[in-house]
Structure formats: C-alpha cells, structure tokens
Amino acid sequence: MGCGAADVANLLRAGAATIAEHRVELIDLDRPIGDADHGENLNRGFGFVVSTLDTAVPETPGGVLKLAATTLISKVGGAAGPLYGTAFLRVATTLGDRPDLDASAVVEALRAALAGVVARGKAEVGDATMVDALTPAVAAAEAAENDGIAALLSAAADAADQGAESTEPLIARKGRASYLGERSVGHVDPGARSTALLLRAFAEAAR
C-alpha cells in the first residue's frame, strides 16, 4: 500500500477512536501515580484533530501531521500535549511535502517522533515514560522496514506494547510519577500505554 494524505488522516482517526475507547483506562493508569488526566487530555486533543480533519484534509501527509501537531499542542496541555505535539511536528517536518509515504518514510517518521520526544522531555529508556514504548517501537519498525508499512507498524506496536509493560517494575524518573519515588513501582506508565495504543491503531488502520 502507498500512503497518502487521506490514508494518514485515517490513521489519525483510528488513533482518536482508540484513545476515546481507552480514555478511562488511561485516566485510571494516571490516577495512582499521576493526576488522572492523561486519557482526558489526549481524548480532548484527538477529538479536535478529528473535527479539524472533518473540515478539510490537507494535501500531503506532512500537512495532515502538522495540523495534528498544532491541534494537539493547543488542545492537550499537560506533559503529553507538548510531547506528542512535538513528535508529530518533527514527523511533519521530516516528511516535508511528499505526496505519498513508503515504508522507509514511515520508519523515518517514527525515528523523528522519538527524536522529538527525547529532545523535548530529556527522558531515557528506563525512566518509565512514553520513551520506553517508542524506543523499542522504532527499533522494531527499522527491523521490519522491508515487510511494508502495515507489517512494520504492527511490529512497532508489538514492541511498544512490551515497552509499555516494561515500565511496570520501574521507579519513574521523569514526569509526575517521579515525585513518588519508590511508590511509582508496580504501575504501567500511562504515556507509554497511550503510545502503544496509538501505534496499534495505526497498524490496524494501515492493513
């Protein structure tokens, strides 16, 4: 499959649907170690992304992702807003005005997303953040680049799932959970979980 602006818009719609579906789960993950708003914030932001796309879909994948980025930045708030917003913005910049994405462009996009999150949030793997989901996802996507977009996204989602799970035994060192010190152990990081959910939604929509 090729992947044009309309396809990317559909991926984002699928992501928004997943976030809406898992809104309470993400709130509940954020409650014991944070402030119980992750699901609410992302859902508000992705809701606006969808309604913006309903008005008009930009012409290029990069344009669509830039629109998503600016919407997330101005509607999500909290830590996740700037982090996801920066991720999408970096992706948009990387893609430029290509009309269509191939597998290598998608891998490049994922790398740019990770680079954006790290540049903004300064987290490393093991700090119990979305970086713990996104880092293995990028590696898995790179390894599966030759299998096509759907397969590489699926591999990325699998890796992100595991990465999210891997945050459970960790002491959080970034974000709100870090205030808890030892008490942050035993909880899956909500941002890592939402990253895994989004990648899964993208993978399924790309099939």
Partner: protein, 333 residues
C-alpha cells in the same frame, strides 16, 4: 461525585465567567484560549508578571490578577497545564517594551508549554523570561528526575515579583528577585482526604480513616508516604521540621510563615495548625515577621494543609507589605 457543575468539559470556562462577573473592576477574561488579565492591561512601562497552570488550585492563579501581583494568569483544564496559545494570548495582552516574567511551577507539562510560548514570544521580539519554582521539599531534589514540584511558594513569588514590577523594577531586577525568592522558599503539604477531579468522578486516591498522605502535591497525586493520622501538634511539627531542615532555616532567621489550606480544611483547623507552626518556629529561634493564613493554593476540595517558609529581609518585607489589589489578596488599597 457531587459537584456544583454542569459538565466536566466546561467547568473551567464557566468558572471564569463567574470570576469575570465578580471582579470586572480588577480583571477581564479572554476565552478560547482562556486567559485572565488585569483590567488595566497592558500597564505601560512595567514588567508583565504572568503565571498559570492547571485549574483546581483557586484562587491560584486567576485570583491573584490585579494591581501589585499578576498581570495575567493562564488557566488550563483541571490539574492540566495550559497550552502555549493561552500563554501567548496572556503575553500579547500584557507585554510591552518592559518585557514579561513567566512564573512556571515545576511540572513537566507547565515547563514545556510555557517554554513553547516563550519561544514564540521571542520570535516576536518580546523580552520574555521564565523562572521555574520548585519549593516542595517532599520531593527529592534531583536533576535526573522531574525534580521538585512548585507549590505554596508560588503564591509568595507572585506577590513579591508583582510588587517589584509595580514599583518599576526592570526585567533583570524582577527576574533576579524571583530567583532569589525561589532560592529561599520551601514548602511541604499533607492531605487528609483526596480531591475528586470533575472528569474522573471519583477521588484521586483512597485513604483509610486513620491514614494521611504526607508530602502531598496539589494535583491529587499521592504523597511521599502514607502515615497514620496523628494529633495536630505532632503533624504540624513534622511539617515544620521538614521545611526548616531542608533549606535549612536557622536560629535567628526572619521568615514569612504561610499556612495554607488545601481547600477542604476548615479555617478553624487551619488557624489551629498555624498557631502550632508559630510555636514550632519560636522554639527553634526562627522569627516569624510576616504571615499568610488561608486557602490560597488548593487542590479542589482536598482536606489538608501546607506550610511554606520564606526567609525574609528588608527588601522582601517591603515588597510583601506593598499594596496589592486582587480578588484573593488585597491590602493597602
């Protein structure tokens, strides 16, 4: 959950409408992106002092907008940092050639969103500086983590920088003052009950009848440890000790003591706690020269208190005593 609201999604905006109606002499409110600005903004020739953060901590920050304190406040969703466009709107409405100081509480979300807004302002050739307040001694101070939270000290910082701006200090001076205050203010809090976030509908945590959360933040996040409830004398001594030992504050120091209610604690109990804190400091030879007692930085209906100490000197005392006229803090005018 029982709350006096219509819809969790519109709570903040509806509340701002009430704030605006109640205090149109002091402030005006812009919507979508939401921001609260002084009625007389922009104030020519003065540094704009701007703060903001998630809602649910009222009167912080909107209740501190007015002469001698904040020029603008940017409210986010409940317990959620505002987005950069709100901060931008606040900057545009208040900032002139004298520049602006952004007072940012140290939460990843606040830091990132204000940072973005500051970058955008710089791109428009406005002189906008940020300071990050991180006064909560409950959190280990570390550069490998998000670091300490900004809590009660924020109220004092907003008052003092607002007063400095009001007397005509330039941006360098106001920023230097802010850094000085941040360097010598420390806080800690305790919760007896949890707040309920409107969009969640259930308390942020559960506490047994004999448990309290020590070292709590202001967002319903759990504290550093869950301990047994204890008499006020012990509890307040524990709070004071944690704050005093951190800076540390020493025999002979002059301080401002800020005894804050987290929202749901009755004034009857708050003043009782304040009295104990005064004695605990007196025993250590620390002189309380100024005090603030009340619900000024809250966590919705959470029951609990926080204790903040700021080391004082003549300059800070003069700035503290300077007139202030905001919905929540007012004297001298």
């Amino acid at each position: 959950m029982k709350k006096i609201i219509n819809d969790p999604a519109t709570v903040v905006t509806e509340s701002l409408r009430g704030l605006e109606a109640a205090h149109s002499d002091l402030l005006r409110v812009g919507y979508d992106p939401d921001h609260v600005v002084r009625a007389d903004a922009p104030v020519g020739g003065k540094v704009a002092v701007i703060s903001g953060g998630g809602s649910g901590h009222e009167p912080l920050h909107g209740g501190f907008v007015g002469t001698g304190m904040l020029h603008a406040a940017v409210p986010g969703a409940v317990f959620t940092s505002p987005t950069p466009d709100g901060v931008q709107a606040a900057i545009s409405a208040t900032t002139g050639a004298a520049g602006a100081l952004l007072i940012v509480k140290n939460y990843t979300g606040d830091v990132l969103n204000f940072e973005t807004a500051a970058e955008l302002a710089a791109a428009e050739d406005l002189d906008v500086r940020s300071v990050v307040i991180d006064d909560d001694v409950a959190v280990a101070d570390s550069t490998f983590t998000a670091g300490r939270r900004g809590v009660g000290g924020t109220v004092l910082l907003e008052k003092l920088t607002g007063a400095a701006s009001e007397r005509g200090d330039g941006l360098d001076a106001v920023e230097a003052l802010a850094r000085k205050v941040i360097g010598q203010v420390r806080s800690i809090g305790v919760a007896l009950t949890a707040p309920t976030v409107p969009h969640v509908g259930e308390p942020s945590f559960e506490l047994a009848a004999d448990e309290i959360e020590f070292g709590i933040g202001i967002h319903g996040e759990p504290g550093r440890e869950r301990v047994k409830a204890e008499p006020a004398d012990q509890l307040v001594e524990r709070l004071v000790a944690a704050v005093v030992d951190d800076l540390p504050f020493a025999d002979g120091d002059e301080v401002l003591l800020f005894t804050n209610s987290m929202g749901g604690t009755p004034l009857l109990e708050l003043y009782l706690a304040h009295g104990i804190a005064e004695r605990a400091l007196a025993q250590r030879g620390i002189r309380v020269t100024r005090r603030l007692v009340g619900p000024y930085i809250t966590s919705l209906e959470m029951q609990g208190i926080s204790v903040t100490l700021l080391r004082m000197d003549d300059e800070l005392t003069e700035l503290w005593d300077a007139p202030v006229c905001t919905p929540a803090l007012r004297w001298g005018m």
